[in-house]
């Protein structure tokens, strides 16, 4: 073989470097330094709390080991079923909408618009995402109240004469998806646009020369080539969706209780912890959500080969 493989070259240079007495640790140290900030935060606000939740979920308030009893207890609670049904309906709508629409918008921005105009639109889409969750809910509280909404004509045309009619239980998933999409889609459009930019121009040109129109290249070339980004988006959007809390909680307060205080599982966990004083039950609920997120992520990762390194 005459072609020198890149790995060998690196190995060789490191060997040489070591022989020359250059400390190899320096490079490693900088790396550790760079990840340390994240690692510490991950430990303090991610790993340790998760561990604590696992501990709480398997014990009672006297620290005795309870096995699965906490899980059985919360699953038998009368609010458990409705909360998970609510979040399921919400998730289906939210995932379909966010994945299909953000990809579609990104493809249109990439293929059908001049780069300058596309940048303007990307910025516009991104603005709502810059608002905090609370602020965006407040914006929608105004938008959806026929008494004050700038779109009150539209609301009334749809048969909603007052805010309570808008907040009917069957409308809640739609309202929450609207809020989530409005705040979250902009960020994903930017990410997807970036992913589309990674596709080499030659590939698209080859497609064009073979007679593919913009829709054909989108469907057969662009979308398959950004599949991994879509999977990545699905995992994150799913995890964020199951953890829905701020939006229904604020709607509950703002509607003076017309929305159930345990609409989403996370709210139920909150009620368990802070009204019943049952932190163990709350932890068990949070483990349910964690397990759900992990299962979906595992399926998506293994089925899509998300982390498989291309060996070309």
């Amino acid at each position: 073989m005459t072609i020198v493989e890149p790995e060998r070259v690196t190995a060789l240079t490191t060997k040489l470097a070591r022989r020359r007495g250059i400390p190899r640790r320096r490079a490693g140290l900088a790396g550790y330094l760079f990840v340390s900030g994240y690692t510490i935060l991950l430990l303090v606000f991610g790993i340790i709390p998760t561990g604590y939740a696992v501990y709480l979920a398997f014990t009672n308030d006297q620290g005795q080991f309870t096995g699965l009893n906490q899980f059985i207890k919360v699953a038998q609670d009368y609010r458990f079923g409705p909360a998970f049904v609510n979040i399921f309906i919400y998730l289906v709508m939210w995932l379909v909408l966010v994945i299909v629409l953000t990809t579609l918008v990104a493809v249109i921005l990439r293929a059908r618009m001049k780069p300058g105009l596309a940048a303007v639109f990307r910025f516009l889409y991104y603005i709502p995402g810059a608002l905090a969750g609370v602020a965006s809910v407040l914006v929608w509280l105004f938008m959806l109240d026929p008494a004050v909404s700038p779109a009150s004509g539209l609301l009334r045309a749809l048969g909603f004469d007052n805010f309570s009619q808008v907040l009917a239980p069957e409308n809640l998933p739609v309202i929450l998806v609207l809020i989530a999409f409005w705040t979250g889609a902009g960020g994903w459009i930017v990410v997807m646009y970036g992913a589309l930019n990674n596709i080499p121009e030659e590939v698209l040109e080859a497609a064009r020369m073979d007679g593919a129109g913009p829709w054909q290249s989108a469907w057969h070339i662009q979308i398959p080539m950004i599949r991994k980004w879509i999977v990545y988006q699905s995992i994150l959007a799913f995890a964020a969706g199951t953890q829905l809390f701020v939006e229904p909680q604020l709607l509950q307060t703002a509607s003076l209780g017309r929305v159930s205080p345990t609409w989403a599982p996370n709210q139920l966990a909150y009620v368990f912890a802070f009204q019943h004083g049952d932190f163990n039950g709350a932890a068990a609920l949070s483990i349910f959500l964690l397990a759900l997120g992990l299962i979906v992520a595992t399926i998506l990762v293994t089925r899509s080969g998300l982390f498989k390194v291309d060996d070309e």
Binding site: N60, G67, N69, Y78, R79, S164, F274, H276, G277
Partner: protein, 454 residues
């Protein structure tokens, strides 16, 4: 070549399944997951080490804030840290949430809080094993003399009493009276109803003669207290044995449900709340509601001009001799058992709830009877109204039905999240009674009550 691999894999799967089953079997047979908090074992109250110079933190809602500030002004030597919060209104659990956290961290409790009566149900008991109940028993250790407690309006302290101790001082009562617009009633030649039957008849008359005008609204978080409490409906009645009776099919509930259904379909009772954004107050002819409706609904929210609104005695049912009315809110003051300065905190609570200096100008009707007299003697509390409200207010204060118990859960949740959306969707109250019943029963059971439905 492939078969050995497959069998070994199968074996591994089998072993894994066995281990899982074994583990599950082991896991399910363990200690109970039940929370031990809220046990009623009453241990004698032991104050923490006291310090007369210690600063006291007072949490009050925005309505009560000026009174606390007035105390600070007249007692400049007392070191106070005054904090505004939602005051547990509309079923808020902010205080409970915070106390749960303070109990876990072992510090941070306010010394004195304004709260809702519902809060006393959990604050009088430990939130978990080993925790000290948040509220200090005010009658033990003579923090508040018995003579003072005896002067509160009849039954108004029952919300504060648990296990033979008094855990709070009642700030105000919110007895339900019949509010009406005297100017409109006179103009249209209507007489003020004295019974529910007359009220219903007048409601139907208004619907035909003056469509658009209202004799009531049921869409607020507390409308059930104005109507169903007044009707003596056993929606949440604590029994002597500690169980909770929830029976919405009782005659006392169904009669109110059908009365309201009639008026809702006639469109003279709104399914919107009086406090809904954009509610047109000029269309309100009558409102069965608490004593604070006068200032807070008609004067502040509706901006009805002075001299139009009047109050009448609570409505009764034809043929019933016992008059009964509802109660919508009315706050309490609780002193923290963790306070380093119980004396100062109790002094503030006593001043706020019993002193003429504060009560004469109090925003709401005082629960302390001598204070209520001074309140009614103050023309500023009455000159907004078309007639003297003293009579109806005093009568209603003594007629509050005691069968609507102060429970560990707020009665606002089931009403607002189950009944009100149903009404908005066009269902009738009578149809919604079973769903409401289920919601109350579920909620009651989840906080540990034994429920009877007969």
């Amino acid at each position: 070549m492939k078969s050995p691999l497959l069998t070994s894999r199968r074996k591994a799967t089998g072993a894994l399944a066995l281990v899982t089953v074994g583990l599950l079997a082991a896991l399910t047979g363990c200690a109970s997951a039940a929370s031990t908090g809220g046990s009623t074992s009453a241990t004698a109250f032991k104050p923490v080490t006291q310090s007369a110079s210690s600063e006291i933190t007072v949490w009050a809602d925005s309505t009560r804030l000026p009174a606390v500030q007035a105390y600070q002004k007249s007692h400049p030597n007392v070191k106070m840290n005054i904090v505004t919060y939602d005051g547990s209104a509309d079923g808020s659990t902010y205080l409970q949430t915070k106390v749960q956290l303070f109990d876990r961290t072992g510090k941070g409790w306010p010394d004195l809080v304004f709260a809702s009566p519902t809060d006393v149900t959990w604050a009088s008991q430990p939130t978990s094993k080993g925790a000290v109940p948040f509220a200090a028993p005010l009658d033990s250790g003579k923090l508040v003399p018995q003579a003072t407690l005896d002067n509160f309006a009849k039954g108004s302290l029952s919300a504060c009493q648990f296990n033979g101790n008094t855990y709070c001082l009642r700030n105000d009562i919110a007895q339900v009276v019949l509010w009406y617009n005297k100017t409109l009633m006179d103009q249209w030649g209507y007489t003020v109803p004295t019974t529910w039957e007359q009220y219903e008849a007048l409601g139907q008359k208004v619907a035909t003669e003056h469509p658009g005008y209202l004799v009531g609204a049921v869409g607020d978080t507390n409308s059930q207290e104005s109507y169903f409490w007044s009707s003596q409906c056993p929606a949440q009645q604590l029994q002597k044995d500690g169980s909770l009776q929830v029976n919405l099919q009782a005659k006392d509930c169904t009669r109110m449900a059908s009365l309201l259904d009639t008026l809702i379909s006639a469109k003279s009772v709104s399914t919107q709340g009086f406090f809904t954004q954009g509610f047109d107050g000029s269309k309100v002819l009558m409102a069965n509601g608490p004593s604070w409706y006068g200032q807070y609904l008609f004067n502040s929210a509706f901006k009805t001009p002075a001299g139009q609104i009047a109050a009448a005695n609570p409505l009764t049912w034809a043929g019933e001799s016992t008059a009964a009315t509802g109660n919508v809110g009315g706050g309490v003051w609780m002193v923290s058992s963790h306070s380093k300065n119980l004396k100062a905190a109790t002094a503030v609570a006593t001043w706020l709830t019993t002193s003429d200096a504060n009560l004469t100008n109090a925003p709401t009707y005082p629960a302390y009877s001598p204070g209520a007299k001074s309140w009614l003697a103050n023309p500023a509390n009455k000159d907004y109204f078309a007639t003297d409200i003293s009579g109806p207010f005093q009568k209603a204060a003594d007629e509050v039905w005691t069968g609507w118990s102060n429970t560990k859960f707020s009665d606002a949740t089931a009403w607002s999240s189950v009944v009100l959306p149903g009404l908005t969707a066009g269902k009738s109250l009578t149809d919604l009674l079973p769903a409401w019943q289920t919601a109350i029963v579920n909620e009651a059971k989840s906080v540990g009550y034994t429920v009877t439905t007969k």
